[in-house]
Symmetry: C2
Subunit: 224 residues, 2 copies
Protein backbone atom coordinates (compact mmCIF):
# COMPACT_ATOMS: atom_id res chain seq x y z
CA UNK A 1 0.00 0.00 0.00
CA UNK A 2 2.73 2.38 1.07
CA UNK A 3 4.79 1.54 -2.01
CA UNK A 4 1.82 1.96 -4.30
CA UNK A 5 1.18 5.35 -2.72
CA UNK A 6 4.78 6.45 -3.30
CA UNK A 7 4.68 5.21 -6.87
CA UNK A 8 1.51 7.18 -7.59
CA UNK A 9 3.07 10.21 -5.93
CA UNK A 10 6.10 9.93 -8.20
CA UNK A 11 3.85 9.64 -11.23
CA UNK A 12 2.08 12.78 -10.10
CA UNK A 13 5.34 14.73 -9.83
CA UNK A 14 6.44 13.49 -13.25
CA UNK A 15 3.16 14.53 -14.83
CA UNK A 16 3.27 17.99 -13.30
CA UNK A 17 6.84 18.41 -14.54
CA UNK A 18 5.92 17.20 -18.02
CA UNK A 19 2.87 19.44 -18.21
CA UNK A 20 4.74 22.52 -17.01
CA UNK A 21 7.55 21.75 -19.48
CA UNK A 22 5.14 21.70 -22.40
CA UNK A 23 3.40 24.88 -21.25
CA UNK A 24 6.69 26.70 -20.75
CA UNK A 25 7.84 25.72 -24.21
CA UNK A 26 4.48 26.71 -25.72
CA UNK A 27 4.83 30.19 -24.25
CA UNK A 28 8.35 30.44 -25.69
CA UNK A 29 7.23 29.20 -29.11
CA UNK A 30 4.21 31.50 -29.31
CA UNK A 31 6.32 34.55 -28.49
CA UNK A 32 9.04 33.48 -30.90
CA UNK A 33 6.37 33.06 -33.58
CA UNK A 34 5.24 36.62 -32.92
CA UNK A 35 8.69 38.16 -32.61
CA UNK A 36 10.40 36.42 -35.51
CA UNK A 37 7.21 36.19 -37.60
CA UNK A 38 7.28 32.41 -37.90
CA UNK A 39 3.76 31.13 -38.48
CA UNK A 40 4.84 27.50 -38.20
CA UNK A 41 5.82 27.95 -34.54
CA UNK A 42 2.38 29.33 -33.67
CA UNK A 43 0.77 26.32 -35.37
CA UNK A 44 3.00 24.01 -33.34
CA UNK A 45 1.59 25.56 -30.14
CA UNK A 46 -1.96 24.83 -31.30
CA UNK A 47 -0.98 21.22 -32.03
CA UNK A 48 0.33 20.77 -28.49
CA UNK A 49 -2.87 21.86 -26.77
CA UNK A 50 -4.40 18.38 -26.72
CA UNK A 51 -1.40 16.92 -24.91
CA UNK A 52 -1.69 19.56 -22.18
CA UNK A 53 -5.39 18.91 -21.77
CA UNK A 54 -4.85 15.18 -21.53
CA UNK A 55 -2.21 15.66 -18.83
CA UNK A 56 -4.62 17.89 -16.92
CA UNK A 57 -7.18 15.08 -16.77
CA UNK A 58 -4.50 12.51 -15.90
CA UNK A 59 -3.23 14.62 -13.00
CA UNK A 60 -6.76 14.87 -11.68
CA UNK A 61 -7.23 11.14 -11.89
CA UNK A 62 -3.90 10.40 -10.23
CA UNK A 63 -4.84 12.75 -7.37
CA UNK A 64 -8.21 11.05 -6.93
CA UNK A 65 -6.50 7.64 -6.88
CA UNK A 66 -4.06 8.89 -4.27
CA UNK A 67 -6.84 10.25 -2.10
CA UNK A 68 -8.72 6.96 -2.40
CA UNK A 69 -5.68 4.76 -1.73
CA UNK A 70 -5.55 5.53 1.95
CA UNK A 71 -6.84 7.95 4.55
CA UNK A 72 -4.39 10.71 3.86
CA UNK A 73 -2.76 12.49 6.77
CA UNK A 74 -2.80 16.28 6.92
CA UNK A 75 0.53 16.60 5.09
CA UNK A 76 -0.31 14.21 2.25
CA UNK A 77 -3.76 15.69 1.94
CA UNK A 78 -2.34 19.14 1.34
CA UNK A 79 0.21 17.78 -1.08
CA UNK A 80 -2.43 16.09 -3.20
CA UNK A 81 -4.93 18.93 -3.16
CA UNK A 82 -2.13 21.37 -3.96
CA UNK A 83 -1.19 19.23 -6.95
CA UNK A 84 -4.81 19.32 -8.16
CA UNK A 85 -4.85 23.09 -7.96
CA UNK A 86 -1.50 23.35 -9.70
CA UNK A 87 -2.97 21.22 -12.48
CA UNK A 88 -5.79 23.74 -12.87
CA UNK A 89 -3.32 26.62 -13.12
CA UNK A 90 -1.17 24.77 -15.64
CA UNK A 91 -4.15 24.02 -17.82
CA UNK A 92 -5.14 27.70 -17.87
CA UNK A 93 -1.56 28.61 -18.68
CA UNK A 94 -1.68 26.23 -21.62
CA UNK A 95 -4.82 28.00 -22.83
CA UNK A 96 -3.06 31.35 -22.53
CA UNK A 97 -0.15 30.11 -24.66
CA UNK A 98 -2.73 29.09 -27.26
CA UNK A 99 -4.31 32.54 -27.04
CA UNK A 100 -0.92 34.13 -27.71
CA UNK A 101 -0.38 31.82 -30.69
CA UNK A 102 -3.81 32.78 -32.07
CA UNK A 103 -3.03 36.49 -31.77
CA UNK A 104 0.37 35.84 -33.37
CA UNK A 105 -1.31 34.20 -36.37
CA UNK A 106 -3.52 37.28 -36.79
CA UNK A 107 -0.64 39.71 -36.36
CA UNK A 108 1.50 37.83 -38.89
CA UNK A 109 -1.03 38.65 -41.60
CA UNK A 110 -0.34 42.40 -41.27
CA UNK A 111 2.89 44.45 -41.43
CA UNK A 112 4.96 44.54 -38.26
CA UNK A 113 4.16 47.43 -35.89
CA UNK A 114 7.50 47.60 -34.11
CA UNK A 115 10.33 45.28 -33.11
CA UNK A 116 9.28 43.59 -29.90
CA UNK A 117 11.44 44.09 -26.83
CA UNK A 118 9.33 44.28 -23.68
CA UNK A 119 6.88 41.54 -24.64
CA UNK A 120 9.62 38.89 -25.07
CA UNK A 121 11.09 40.14 -21.79
CA UNK A 122 7.73 39.64 -20.06
CA UNK A 123 7.50 36.17 -21.59
CA UNK A 124 10.94 35.24 -20.32
CA UNK A 125 10.01 36.37 -16.80
CA UNK A 126 6.73 34.46 -16.88
CA UNK A 127 8.45 31.29 -18.14
CA UNK A 128 11.04 31.46 -15.37
CA UNK A 129 8.32 32.05 -12.80
CA UNK A 130 6.51 28.95 -14.06
CA UNK A 131 9.64 26.81 -14.01
CA UNK A 132 10.66 27.93 -10.53
CA UNK A 133 7.16 27.61 -9.09
CA UNK A 134 6.97 23.97 -10.20
CA UNK A 135 10.51 23.34 -8.94
CA UNK A 136 9.55 24.85 -5.59
CA UNK A 137 6.66 22.37 -5.44
CA UNK A 138 8.86 19.37 -6.27
CA UNK A 139 11.54 20.42 -3.74
CA UNK A 140 9.06 21.80 -1.16
CA UNK A 141 11.15 24.96 -1.27
CA UNK A 142 9.07 27.77 0.21
CA UNK A 143 11.91 30.31 -0.07
CA UNK A 144 12.02 29.82 -3.84
CA UNK A 145 8.22 30.04 -3.97
CA UNK A 146 8.26 33.32 -2.03
CA UNK A 147 10.81 34.65 -4.46
CA UNK A 148 8.56 33.74 -7.42
CA UNK A 149 5.69 35.71 -5.84
CA UNK A 150 7.89 38.78 -5.60
CA UNK A 151 8.79 38.67 -9.30
CA UNK A 152 5.16 39.20 -10.26
CA UNK A 153 5.60 42.95 -9.69
CA UNK A 154 8.25 43.17 -12.42
CA UNK A 155 5.84 41.60 -14.91
CA UNK A 156 3.07 43.99 -13.90
CA UNK A 157 5.42 46.95 -14.32
CA UNK A 158 6.40 45.78 -17.81
CA UNK A 159 2.77 45.29 -18.76
CA UNK A 160 2.00 48.84 -17.69
CA UNK A 161 4.91 50.10 -19.76
CA UNK A 162 3.79 48.13 -22.83
CA UNK A 163 0.26 49.45 -22.38
CA UNK A 164 1.41 53.09 -22.30
CA UNK A 165 3.67 52.60 -25.30
CA UNK A 166 0.94 50.99 -27.38
CA UNK A 167 -1.50 53.75 -26.45
CA UNK A 168 1.02 56.27 -27.79
CA UNK A 169 1.18 54.36 -31.08
CA UNK A 170 -2.60 54.28 -31.37
CA UNK A 171 -2.99 57.97 -30.54
CA UNK A 172 -0.27 58.90 -33.03
CA UNK A 173 -1.58 56.85 -35.94
CA UNK A 174 -5.01 55.22 -36.05
CA UNK A 175 -3.71 52.81 -38.72
CA UNK A 176 -1.81 51.06 -35.92
CA UNK A 177 -4.85 50.46 -33.70
CA UNK A 178 -5.70 46.90 -34.67
CA UNK A 179 -2.13 45.73 -34.37
CA UNK A 180 -1.59 47.64 -31.13
CA UNK A 181 -4.72 46.08 -29.63
CA UNK A 182 -3.42 42.65 -30.65
CA UNK A 183 -0.12 43.27 -28.87
CA UNK A 184 -1.95 44.72 -25.90
CA UNK A 185 -3.87 41.47 -25.54
CA UNK A 186 -0.65 39.46 -25.79
CA UNK A 187 0.82 41.45 -22.91
CA UNK A 188 -2.35 40.80 -20.88
CA UNK A 189 -2.00 37.08 -21.51
CA UNK A 190 1.60 37.21 -20.30
CA UNK A 191 0.58 39.09 -17.20
CA UNK A 192 -2.02 36.40 -16.47
CA UNK A 193 0.58 33.69 -17.05
CA UNK A 194 2.69 35.31 -14.34
CA UNK A 195 -0.40 35.47 -12.09
CA UNK A 196 -0.92 31.74 -12.47
CA UNK A 197 2.73 31.05 -11.63
CA UNK A 198 2.21 33.22 -8.55
CA UNK A 199 -0.85 31.14 -7.61
CA UNK A 200 1.24 27.98 -7.87
CA UNK A 201 3.96 29.50 -5.70
CA UNK A 202 1.38 30.64 -3.10
CA UNK A 203 0.08 27.10 -3.02
CA UNK A 204 3.57 25.79 -2.35
CA UNK A 205 4.04 28.21 0.54
CA UNK A 206 0.73 27.04 1.98
CA UNK A 207 1.83 23.44 1.52
CA UNK A 208 5.19 23.88 3.22
CA UNK A 209 4.30 26.32 5.96
CA UNK A 210 0.91 24.81 6.64
CA UNK A 211 -1.06 28.01 6.47
CA UNK A 212 -2.38 30.22 3.75
CA UNK A 213 -0.54 33.37 2.76
CA UNK A 214 -3.20 34.08 0.17
CA UNK A 215 -5.07 37.32 0.76
CA UNK A 216 -3.22 37.98 4.07
CA UNK A 217 -5.92 35.94 5.66
CA UNK A 218 -4.40 36.07 9.16
CA UNK A 219 -4.55 39.83 9.07
CA UNK A 220 -8.16 39.89 7.88
CA UNK A 221 -9.22 37.39 10.53
CA UNK A 222 -7.53 39.07 13.43
CA UNK A 223 -9.27 42.29 12.42
CA UNK A 224 -12.69 40.64 12.85
Amino acid sequence: MERLFDEELNKLREKLLRMSGIVEESVALSIEALKDRKEELAREVLRREEGVNLLDVEIDETCLRLLALRQPMAGDLRLITSAMKIGVDLERMGDLAVNIAQRALELLRVPILKPLVDIPRMARLAQDMLKDSIQSFIDRNDALAAEVCKRDDAVDALENQVFRELLTYMLGDPATIERAVGLLLVSRYLERLADHATNIAENVIYLVRGRSIKHNVDKIRSAD
Copy 2:
Protein backbone atom coordinates in the same frame (compact mmCIF):
# COMPACT_ATOMS: atom_id res chain seq x y z
CA MET B 1 -18.79 10.77 12.50
CA GLU B 2 -21.37 10.47 9.75
CA ARG B 3 -23.34 13.41 11.20
CA LEU B 4 -20.24 15.53 11.53
CA PHE B 5 -19.45 14.79 7.89
CA ASP B 6 -22.93 15.84 6.79
CA GLU B 7 -22.74 19.00 8.88
CA GLU B 8 -19.41 19.96 7.32
CA LEU B 9 -20.85 19.18 3.88
CA ASN B 10 -23.76 21.52 4.54
CA LYS B 11 -21.39 24.24 5.68
CA LEU B 12 -19.48 23.78 2.46
CA ARG B 13 -22.62 24.20 0.34
CA GLU B 14 -23.62 27.28 2.32
CA LYS B 15 -20.20 28.85 1.88
CA LEU B 16 -20.16 28.22 -1.85
CA LEU B 17 -23.62 29.77 -2.15
CA ARG B 18 -22.61 32.77 -0.07
CA MET B 19 -19.42 33.29 -2.01
CA SER B 20 -21.14 33.01 -5.40
CA GLY B 21 -23.87 35.38 -4.20
CA ILE B 22 -21.32 38.04 -3.29
CA VAL B 23 -19.42 37.59 -6.56
CA GLU B 24 -22.61 37.77 -8.62
CA GLU B 25 -23.64 40.96 -6.87
CA SER B 26 -20.16 42.43 -7.27
CA VAL B 27 -20.35 41.88 -11.03
CA ALA B 28 -23.77 43.56 -11.12
CA LEU B 29 -22.57 46.51 -9.01
CA SER B 30 -19.40 47.06 -11.01
CA ILE B 31 -21.33 47.14 -14.28
CA GLU B 32 -24.01 49.39 -12.80
CA ALA B 33 -21.25 51.72 -11.59
CA LEU B 34 -19.91 51.86 -15.14
CA LYS B 35 -23.26 52.16 -16.89
CA ASP B 36 -24.95 54.67 -14.58
CA ARG B 37 -21.69 56.43 -13.68
CA LYS B 38 -21.97 55.79 -9.96
CA GLU B 39 -18.53 55.84 -8.38
CA GLU B 40 -19.87 54.75 -4.99
CA LEU B 41 -20.98 51.38 -6.38
CA ALA B 42 -17.50 50.66 -7.74
CA ARG B 43 -16.02 51.45 -4.34
CA GLU B 44 -18.50 49.07 -2.72
CA VAL B 45 -17.13 46.25 -4.93
CA LEU B 46 -13.59 46.99 -3.74
CA ARG B 47 -14.78 46.87 -0.13
CA ARG B 48 -16.29 43.41 -0.63
CA GLU B 49 -13.12 41.81 -1.92
CA GLU B 50 -11.82 40.78 1.49
CA GLY B 51 -15.00 38.89 2.29
CA VAL B 52 -14.67 36.87 -0.91
CA ASN B 53 -11.04 36.07 -0.19
CA LEU B 54 -11.85 34.97 3.33
CA LEU B 55 -14.58 32.64 2.06
CA ASP B 56 -12.12 31.18 -0.44
CA VAL B 57 -9.76 30.18 2.37
CA GLU B 58 -12.65 28.89 4.50
CA ILE B 59 -13.92 26.68 1.67
CA ASP B 60 -10.45 25.24 1.28
CA GLU B 61 -10.22 24.51 4.99
CA THR B 62 -13.68 22.94 5.10
CA CYS B 63 -12.73 20.68 2.19
CA LEU B 64 -9.51 19.61 3.90
CA ARG B 65 -11.44 18.85 7.10
CA LEU B 66 -13.94 16.79 5.13
CA LEU B 67 -11.17 14.84 3.42
CA ALA B 68 -9.50 14.21 6.78
CA LEU B 69 -12.74 13.22 8.56
CA ARG B 70 -12.99 9.86 6.91
CA GLN B 71 -11.67 7.82 4.03
CA PRO B 72 -13.84 9.32 1.37
CA MET B 73 -15.51 7.04 -1.16
CA ALA B 74 -15.25 7.81 -4.86
CA GLY B 75 -18.44 9.89 -4.89
CA ASP B 76 -17.63 12.01 -1.82
CA LEU B 77 -14.09 12.41 -2.99
CA ARG B 78 -15.23 13.93 -6.26
CA LEU B 79 -17.75 16.13 -4.49
CA ILE B 80 -15.11 17.60 -2.19
CA THR B 81 -12.42 18.06 -4.82
CA SER B 82 -15.02 19.64 -7.13
CA ALA B 83 -15.94 22.08 -4.38
CA MET B 84 -12.27 23.02 -3.97
CA LYS B 85 -11.98 23.75 -7.66
CA ILE B 86 -15.21 25.72 -7.67
CA GLY B 87 -13.75 27.80 -4.84
CA VAL B 88 -10.75 28.61 -7.04
CA ASP B 89 -13.01 29.71 -9.88
CA LEU B 90 -15.16 31.84 -7.58
CA GLU B 91 -12.11 33.56 -6.17
CA ARG B 92 -10.89 34.46 -9.67
CA MET B 93 -14.35 35.69 -10.54
CA GLY B 94 -14.26 37.96 -7.49
CA ASP B 95 -10.95 39.35 -8.75
CA LEU B 96 -12.48 39.99 -12.16
CA ALA B 97 -15.37 41.94 -10.59
CA VAL B 98 -12.74 44.03 -8.81
CA ASN B 99 -10.95 44.57 -12.13
CA ILE B 100 -14.19 45.82 -13.68
CA ALA B 101 -14.74 48.18 -10.74
CA GLN B 102 -11.20 49.53 -11.14
CA ARG B 103 -11.74 50.19 -14.86
CA ALA B 104 -15.08 51.80 -14.01
CA LEU B 105 -13.38 54.19 -11.60
CA GLU B 106 -10.95 55.21 -14.36
CA LEU B 107 -13.68 55.57 -16.96
CA LEU B 108 -15.81 57.71 -14.64
CA ARG B 109 -13.10 60.36 -14.64
CA VAL B 110 -13.56 60.99 -18.38
CA PRO B 111 -16.61 61.85 -20.50
CA ILE B 112 -18.83 58.93 -21.47
CA LEU B 113 -17.95 57.30 -24.80
CA LYS B 114 -21.36 55.83 -25.59
CA PRO B 115 -24.40 54.48 -23.76
CA LEU B 116 -23.60 50.89 -22.86
CA VAL B 117 -25.87 48.18 -24.20
CA ASP B 118 -23.94 45.04 -25.05
CA ILE B 119 -21.62 45.15 -22.04
CA PRO B 120 -24.51 45.10 -19.51
CA ARG B 121 -26.05 42.31 -21.60
CA MET B 122 -22.82 40.31 -21.36
CA ALA B 123 -22.74 40.93 -17.62
CA ARG B 124 -26.31 39.68 -17.21
CA LEU B 125 -25.47 36.50 -19.13
CA ALA B 126 -22.32 35.91 -17.08
CA GLN B 127 -24.18 36.46 -13.80
CA ASP B 128 -26.90 33.99 -14.78
CA MET B 129 -24.27 31.47 -15.84
CA LEU B 130 -22.61 31.81 -12.44
CA LYS B 131 -25.88 31.46 -10.55
CA ASP B 132 -27.00 28.43 -12.54
CA SER B 133 -23.60 26.74 -12.40
CA ILE B 134 -23.60 26.91 -8.60
CA GLN B 135 -27.22 25.78 -8.49
CA SER B 136 -26.33 22.83 -10.71
CA PHE B 137 -23.64 21.90 -8.19
CA ILE B 138 -25.99 22.11 -5.22
CA ASP B 139 -28.70 20.10 -7.00
CA ARG B 140 -26.28 17.79 -8.82
CA ASN B 141 -28.14 18.79 -11.96
CA ASP B 142 -25.95 17.89 -14.94
CA ALA B 143 -28.60 18.96 -17.47
CA LEU B 144 -28.55 22.51 -16.09
CA ALA B 145 -24.75 22.43 -16.05
CA ALA B 146 -24.66 21.35 -19.71
CA GLU B 147 -26.99 24.20 -20.55
CA VAL B 148 -24.67 26.69 -18.81
CA CYS B 149 -21.75 25.45 -20.95
CA LYS B 150 -23.75 26.11 -24.11
CA ARG B 151 -24.46 29.71 -23.13
CA ASP B 152 -20.77 30.54 -23.22
CA ASP B 153 -20.98 30.93 -27.00
CA ALA B 154 -23.48 33.80 -26.68
CA VAL B 155 -21.06 35.68 -24.42
CA ASP B 156 -18.18 35.10 -26.84
CA ALA B 157 -20.31 36.38 -29.72
CA LEU B 158 -21.19 39.53 -27.79
CA GLU B 159 -17.56 40.09 -26.89
CA ASN B 160 -16.61 39.87 -30.53
CA GLN B 161 -19.33 42.38 -31.41
CA VAL B 162 -18.20 44.79 -28.67
CA PHE B 163 -14.61 44.44 -29.88
CA ARG B 164 -15.52 45.32 -33.48
CA GLU B 165 -17.65 48.27 -32.39
CA LEU B 166 -14.93 49.70 -30.16
CA LEU B 167 -12.37 49.30 -32.93
CA THR B 168 -14.62 51.38 -35.18
CA TYR B 169 -14.76 54.11 -32.53
CA MET B 170 -10.99 54.13 -32.16
CA LEU B 171 -10.38 54.19 -35.91
CA GLY B 172 -12.90 57.01 -36.36
CA ASP B 173 -11.59 59.24 -33.59
CA PRO B 174 -8.26 58.74 -31.80
CA ALA B 175 -9.60 60.81 -28.90
CA THR B 176 -11.76 57.81 -27.98
CA ILE B 177 -8.88 55.33 -27.78
CA GLU B 178 -8.20 55.33 -24.05
CA ARG B 179 -11.87 54.99 -23.19
CA ALA B 180 -12.45 52.36 -25.86
CA VAL B 181 -9.50 50.32 -24.56
CA GLY B 182 -10.99 50.57 -21.06
CA LEU B 183 -14.32 49.20 -22.27
CA LEU B 184 -12.54 46.56 -24.32
CA LEU B 185 -10.87 45.31 -21.16
CA VAL B 186 -14.19 45.26 -19.32
CA SER B 187 -15.68 43.06 -22.03
CA ARG B 188 -12.66 40.74 -21.74
CA TYR B 189 -13.23 40.46 -18.00
CA LEU B 190 -16.86 39.55 -18.62
CA GLU B 191 -15.87 36.95 -21.15
CA ARG B 192 -13.50 35.41 -18.60
CA LEU B 193 -16.24 35.48 -15.98
CA ALA B 194 -18.37 33.39 -18.32
CA ASP B 195 -15.40 31.05 -18.88
CA HIS B 196 -15.10 30.48 -15.14
CA ALA B 197 -18.83 29.73 -14.87
CA THR B 198 -18.32 27.24 -17.70
CA ASN B 199 -15.45 25.64 -15.76
CA ILE B 200 -17.73 25.25 -12.75
CA ALA B 201 -20.45 23.70 -14.90
CA GLU B 202 -17.95 21.30 -16.50
CA ASN B 203 -16.86 20.27 -13.03
CA VAL B 204 -20.48 19.53 -12.11
CA ILE B 205 -20.93 17.35 -15.18
CA TYR B 206 -17.78 15.47 -14.24
CA LEU B 207 -19.09 15.11 -10.70
CA VAL B 208 -22.51 13.80 -11.72
CA ARG B 209 -21.58 11.68 -14.71
CA GLY B 210 -18.32 10.44 -13.24
CA ARG B 211 -16.16 11.24 -16.19
CA SER B 212 -14.56 14.32 -17.61
CA ILE B 213 -16.14 16.17 -20.51
CA LYS B 214 -13.31 18.66 -20.39
CA HIS B 215 -11.27 18.75 -23.56
CA ASN B 216 -13.27 15.84 -25.10
CA VAL B 217 -10.81 13.60 -23.40
CA ASP B 218 -12.51 10.37 -24.48
CA LYS B 219 -12.12 11.38 -28.09
CA ILE B 220 -8.46 12.28 -27.64
CA ARG B 221 -7.69 9.04 -25.84
CA SER B 222 -9.43 6.77 -28.32
CA ALA B 223 -7.47 8.47 -31.08
CA ASP B 224 -4.18 7.39 -29.49
